[in-house]
């Protein structure tokens, strides 16, 4: 079973390599290390968001409000920075994580205490959070001139040859990997996704675990709120509009099963990278950016078809083993 999941990550890795080879065949400069690092940096935010979403999907839930959460936290932090240019950036980032986690926890409480289906809860909070961005900003933008230089430049600082933004993604990915493989919480995300009833009997509080998943996803959205706003140097109501689906797409392409219980950190990172490579390759091979949407749509469909095949096969193998025993 483990070999098979590894297998699909290898296939996804190969697909990304193939993509790189095809583009490089026509434009040799595409595969230069510097450009590959740029692609990684461009994809960092998507990776962190997709890792947050993965935890939620593992528990048989879905968070449609992540992009709206990101926009709201981003607007709050940008306005705070504009009002108090002296406030230290690490403090602002901590504030983002807390606000984002709070917004995620609100989703989590509704799912946990009131047992409202996650898709309904986050559909509602998606519109509420997005609307609140407009309310607190009065529809105005926060632009580069209003942001302090530190606020904008922090993630661009280079450390060991990589911008800090990339380091954020690497550290977050490591933390997620540790959480998913080395902590009881991480294992319980998988457990309640595979079999919620059995999880209850093993002493896992299913509702509380879902609440934790939503809070973690919210914290990621909050952190990315700051990173997004300082990266594109604009905070507005439209920030990351429709991005919730890109996040889910990265998860699905990375092999996370929408039925819960299946998914790995490596897979999600590769899923996000796959989308990142496509987005960076299109302008290089001179395809209009308007193709991007249709291509990522096709990628999602292809990924679900392949995922479904993999999962069916896996089921049979487990049964055979059981029979052998």
């Amino acid at each position: 079973m483990k070999a098979l999941t590894k297998h699909r990550e290898i296939w996804l890795g190969l697909a990304i390599l193939l993509l790189l080879v095809i583009v490089t065949a026509r434009f040799p400069r595409f595969a230069q290390p510097q450009n590959l690092l740029t692609i990684f940096n461009d994809t960092s935010i998507l990776m962190m968001l997709a890792l947050g979403q993965m935890v939620v999907i593992l528990t048989r839930s879905i968070d449609l409000s992540m992009a709206a959460n990101l926009a709201l936290t981003g607007m709050i932090v940008a306005m705070t920075n504009a009002a108090f240019p002296g406030a230290p950036i690490p403090l602002l980032m901590a504030m983002c994580v807390v606000i984002g986690a709070g917004l995620g926890a609100f989703n989590g409480v509704l799912v946990w205490k009131l047992s409202i289906p996650p898709i309904v809860v986050t559909l509602g909070t998606l519109t509420i959070y997005r609307g609140l961005v407009f309310v607190i900003s009065n529809g105005a933008w926060v632009n580069a001139a209003q942001m302090s230089p530190d606020f904008i430049n922090l993630q661009r600082m280079v450390f060991l040859g990589l911008p800090l933004l990339s380091w954020f993604a690497i550290v977050v990915a490591l933390l997620f990997w540790l959480m998913m493989t080395r902590t009881p919480l991480g294992r319980s995300f998988y457990a309640i996704g595979v079999n919620p009833t059995a999880s209850v009997y093993t002493g896992i509080d299913v509702g509380r675990t879902k609440f934790m998943a939503f809070t973690i996803a919210g914290a990621m959205a909050g952190l990315c709120g700051y990173l997004w706003v300082s990266r594109y140097v604009i905070a507005s109501t439209e920030v990351a509009s429709g991005y919730e689906l890109t996040i889910i797409a990265a998860c699905v392409i990375g092999g996370v099963s929408i039925a819960g219980g299946i998914g790995t950190v490596t897979g999600v990172l590769l899923g996000a990278l796959f989308l990142g490579v496509i987005n960076n390759a299109l302008p290089v091979i001179n395809i209009s950016p308007f193709w991007q949407m249709a291509i990522s749509g096709s990628a999602i469909l292809l990924a679900v078809v392949l995922n479904a095949r993999g999962e069916q096969r896996k089921g049979r193998i487990i049964l055979k083993k059981a029979e052998a025993v």
């Binding site: 999907i57 289906p117 929408i258 308007f290 249709a294």
Partner: protein, 337 residues
């Protein structure tokens, strides 16, 4: 769908008298809410109580509500379609494209509706034929369908629809009664009969409650779901015709976010997102409520995005309040005992 284990389904209690059941039903709660919002609107704005204002109000919901009718059946059967707004975009784009080659009004309508049915059939094939989860499939086709619109149109737009075509979105059948409203009422009646008075409708409920049991009792689950996806596509195609005719232009970003509004209508209308329960009357009332709320707030110069806060809060509250009420009643009954 994503969560099928959270809440046990409430079975209808046959011991309640029919009268009591009607009074306590979700639909009567919606009627009360609609009346309350109607009164609030009349008090808040002097421009509200006017036959033309009320007629304009209906344009706020008729197109989305057409989709919500079919979406209700789909959700009752335990599936979902997030690609409906993208189907509108693709259908509208293809209509505009055909217009460039001199298509006349009947051809335009046929292309719009035909595109809708084909897109729905594509969703249906992926979900029932390849046995994929509908939520991911339709997230994918949502990008694919709208993506094709972007490929065809880019940052351009199609304009210049003939006047006979515009009638579908702007015309009035009689006095202030628009064609859109009449079409919606007819469709609502058809869907009411289909869901609540035919074998097909009973099968939809059966599938939503337990599709394995339905399969074993001889219901063709896959075929029924396939038909429901086609119906949702058909209604999206019709909505595309109305919306394109009303706006008189097509952009690839047309009807963005409508899938969420259509689903909100369905859930607000009392359809269980877990499948197996719901009624067309509820969905029609929910559509009316959403039309009243957005139009009333519009008269008060509230921007559209702020309205969406009200819609989102309404969605969560109407679901949360009955649950909170039940919890509170249980707690107090425990205390008194």
């Amino acid at each position: 769908m994503t969560d099928t284990t959270a809440t046990p389904r409430r079975l209808p209690n046959r011991l309640d008298s029919p009268f009591k059941a009607t009074v306590l039903s979700w639909e009567s709660l919606l009627v009360l809410v609609a009346i309350a919002i109607f009164i609030l609107n009349s008090l808040a704005s002097p421009y509200f109580l006017n036959e033309w204002s009320l007629s304009d109000m209906t344009f706020n919901f008729t197109e989305k509500a057409l989709i919500a009718l079919a979406m209700a059946l789909l959700i009752i059967s335990g599936e979902i379609d997030l690609s409906v707004a993208a189907i509108i975009a693709l259908a509208s784009t293809l209509m505009g494209w055909a217009l460039q080659f001199g298509a006349d009004t009947p051809a335009l309508v046929a292309i719009g509706i035909g595109t809708g049915i084909l897109c729905g059939a594509f969703n249906g094939f992926l979900v029932t034929g390849l046995k994929l989860p509908s939520i991911v499939v339709t997230i994918g086709t949502m990008s694919l369908f709208r993506g094709i619109s972007f490929i065809i149109l880019g940052d351009q737009s199609f304009k210049g629809y003939p006047a006979s075509f515009s009638w579908f979105g702007q015309g009035y059948v009689y006095w202030v009664i628009s064609f859109e409203l009449v079409l919606f009422l007819v469709c609502a009646a058809v869907y009411f009969v289909l869901l609540q008075r035919t074998n097909f409708g009973r099968r939809v409920y059966a599938i939503g409650n337990n599709d394995v049991a339905a399969e074993f009792s001889g219901v063709r689950v896959a075929r029924t779901k396939f038909i429901l996806f086609c119906l949702t596509g058909l209604m999206s195609g019709m909505a595309a015709v109305l919306l394109t005719a009303r706006l008189g232009s097509t952009r690839p970003s047309i009807a963005e976010g409508w899938e969420l509004e259509a689903i909100t209508m369905v859930v607000l209308g009392g359809v269980s997102i877990l499948g197996g329960a719901g009624s067309i009357v509820g969905v029609v009332l929910a559509a009316l409520i959403m039309g009243l709320v957005t139009f009333g707030l519009g008269l008060l110069n509230v921007p559209g995005i702020v309205m969406s806060i009200f819609i989102g809060a309404l969605l969560i509250m109407v679901i949360a309040l009955p649950i909170l009420f039940r919890m509170w009643r249980q707690r107090s009954s425990v205390r008194s005992a």
